[in-house]
Symmetry: C2
Subunit: 207 residues, 2 copies
């Protein structure tokens, strides 16, 4: 085969791979992790065999689709741990996670879902959760975070954030910011009234 044809074939394969990943990410985010491979193939406009050529199993696809979000998430938690004040670090993490989540629903799905066979993803998540647990421990010890806070409260906050359905991404971020500030307020060990980001116009308003 001439070198040009080989190069073209390789470039097509790379395009396919990227397209499948983008479609998978969007599909898992919008419709959950149960979307079957054949539906992803259909939406990516490739054959099922092509999907399996790039990703041996659905779990591999899941892991790769969410690898980027998981890495961002991990980076945020590491940033929080690096903050001098662990309580400030904790607040930063919560605020950033909520913002990321407001912009990309798939993110929390990857983080909070049980994906038992997606080994790589599970290992990454366990690593991030270990860091998060360490940050929580330090924030409690420093007297910033209330003692009865549990890791599930972050889950609760992220799930709750998912319920805030507002049309535009800008408004979603604005609503999430206020919501994150309220949650942070409620997690304080020695609560002090802190100002809130502006409220967002939502349906429950008298007209």
């Amino acid at each position: 085969m001439p070198a040009q044809v080989v190069a073209k074939l390789r470039s097509d394969a790379r395009d396919n791979r990227e397209r499948i990943l983008a479609v998978a990410r969007a599909a898992f985010a919008a419709d959950g992790l149960d979307v079957p491979i054949r539906e992803i193939a259909r939406r990516a406009d490739v054959g099922v065999a092509t999907v399996y050529r790039h990703f041996q199993t659905k779990d591999v696809l899941l892991a790769e689709a969410f690898a980027e979000q998981m890495a961002s998430c991990s980076a945020v938690v590491e940033e929080g741990l690096a903050a001098g004040d662990p309580w400030r670090g904790f607040c930063l993490v919560l605020d950033r996670l909520m913002e990321m989540h407001a912009l990309d629903r798939g993110f929390a799905r990857a983080f909070t879902s049980q994906i038992p066979e997606a080994v790589d993803l599970a290992a990454d998540r366990d690593h991030t959760l270990r860091l998060l647990l360490e940050l929580v421990r330090r924030a409690k010890e420093a007297g910033g975070l209330r003692r009865d806070f549990v890791l599930e409260d972050i889950s609760l906050a992220l799930m709750a954030n998912e319920g805030i359905r507002v049309e535009s991404p800008e408004m979603r971020v604005a609503a999430s910011r206020r919501f994150a500030a309220l949650m942070i307020q409620s997690f304080q060990a020695n609560p002090v009234l802190a100002p809130l980001p502006p409220a967002v116009r939502l349906p429950l308003s008298r007209r």
Copy 2:
């Protein structure tokens, strides 16, 4: 027609009406307010004409489907207003709304959606919102509720509550209770650390 036949026809019509209402409530709650009449007829196993015989327009059906929830909601707010301490009344309302909402998703949809033509429902909702605004005013004046609280924060809390998707209704109520307590904590004007209801086991846990 013999009296017995007339009675039977009346009883069938009543059954149909109740079934259509039950199906409509479930459909609007699960799939939003856009579910078309013909789909509701299909699920209720009646003809489209039968639906229109009982409910002249879709807005009439919407209003009737949510009349009960709206009445419960109104009753809760009135109970809150009747409480001696307006801040305690406010907390009671938030806690009860979240619990009702955890058990019946349709409720908040009815309350937070714009249903411009469902006049009766809109009037009921406006009445309830007026009561709620009065409670908010009093709770702020009494120094319990923070000054920068706005009605949209209840919307935010209810929408967020909808994001908390847990399988069993019992766990959903338990998660909503903790969430409501956290929101109440964050709404305090002079925050004091109050104990929280127990945490609920949620996906984000290290296995």
